[in-house]
Amino acid sequence: MNGAADMGGMDGFGPVVQERNEPVFHAGWEGVSFALNMVTGVARLWNLDAFRFKRESIPPPEYVNLSYYGLWTRTLELMMLEYGVATPAEIEAGRAIAPFKKAPRAVTAAECADMVRCGSPYNRPAPSPALFKVGDKVRAKNMHPKAHTRLPRYVRGHVGEVVRIVGCHVFPDSNASNLGEDPHWLYTVRFDGRELWGEQSDPTVRVCIEAWEPYLEPV
């Protein structure tokens, strides 16, 4: 979707402001918000792409006015509601309201440590050979799906060059809508800055993105 999350190339947000000696979390609840999202991931209540889709579906005025972890907490609320983990009354009350279904079991600290150590790889066996090779010229498709996609607006319609075949990876566009992992070949594609931003732009800039095969067409 062309939501507030797709910020590449937007003007008006002002300068990048850095904080000296920035702490990892600015308040206790930020750490909790972070950890809750990790734990619900380990519990496989939903997949990461579905979480991202929910986050970017937040109306732009709200999205850009929430702090970073504020956005995480807000998304978690919405996911818990959508996936039946909590009712609106429970979110309002801040506690479980009986009778409720108990989870089969809780995620343990050891499982969390495992997740930190091992992560969750996204590469999958390839169903078919890769269509493109390094050096191929490709055009990012002009597509505007209403659901989740990882093809930013600013590259759509533009021509780049395949610089790496990453592997065959879970396709977020499908996974986010719970339509299955539908793995596809993933490429790193490099664009010239002037191709993206026009002749007046800085000629020394190149921008690379990762693009799944269905995002690309041969030139």
Binding site: A27, P60, P61, E62, N65, L66, S67, G70, H144
Partner: protein, 208 residues
């Protein structure tokens, strides 16, 4: 979280704050002699009471009733509209676009809020809102659904994004069962939304 947003209190305090700021600025500008309060009152009265979609409705009704006028309107709308005494600010260059059984026109301003003031008055809030501005160009049928309007699947939809000083006025289709009606009576059928393209004119039975 300084950035946290609680829409209810936020909007409320923001409004009263704006109210105070507007009053303060008006006082400063008046004291400095940059503005004349009587001129402000006249501006407000003009757009609140005098200039509105009734003007556009008369233009449309005349185009329905008078083929020669319709031809003039579609060829060069600014002078044709001027014949009825409507002209000026935000309507210096008007283009009239006609709906047909196979073509439906809709007007939007994605970049701000351009709107043909002399014939329609000031735009409603929805016309200036982010949902309308963002979706009208990409999903006009979806937007029409928000207005309860469904067009035949084969109808072409033409969206006019007012990116220059040209202002667009939609001339809706004349409803059936209005043969022989006077201009004045026809004007009662022409709604504001039908001249933006988010609605259709009333039918005779809506008036009954």
């Amino acid at each position: 979280m300084a950035n946290d947003h609680h829409h209810h209190d936020h909007d409320h305090s923001e409004l009263s704050d704006t109210q105070l700021r507007v009053r303060a600025l008006e006082t400063v500008l008046t004291e400095k002699g940059y503005v004349d309060p009587a001129a402000l009152d006249l501006l407000i009265e003009t757009y609140e009471k005098k200039v509105g979609p009734r003007n556009g409705a008369r233009v449309v009704a005349r185009a329905w009733a008078n083929p020669a006028y319709r031809a003039r309107l579609l060829k060069d709308a600014t002078p044709a509209i001027g014949e009825l005494g409507y002209a000026g600010r935000q309507g210096e260059h008007i283009v009239a676009v006609e709906n047909t059984p196979t073509l439906h026109n809709m007007v939007v301003c994605t970049l701000c809020s351009c709107y043909p003031w002399p014939v329609l008055g000031l735009p409603p809030v929805w016309y200036k809102s982010a949902p309308y501005r963002s979706r009208a160009v990409a999903d006009p049928r979806g937007v029409l659904k928000d207005f309860g309007v469904t067009l035949p699947a084969s109808t072409k939809i033409r969206v006019w994004d007012s990116t220059s000083e040209i202002r667009y006025l939609v001339v809706p289709m004349r409803p059936a069962g209005t043969d022989g009606w006077t201009e004045e009576r026809l004007a009662d059928l022409v709604t504001r939304d039908s001249m933006i393209g988010t609605g259709l004119p009333k039918s005779p039975k809506d008036l009954a």
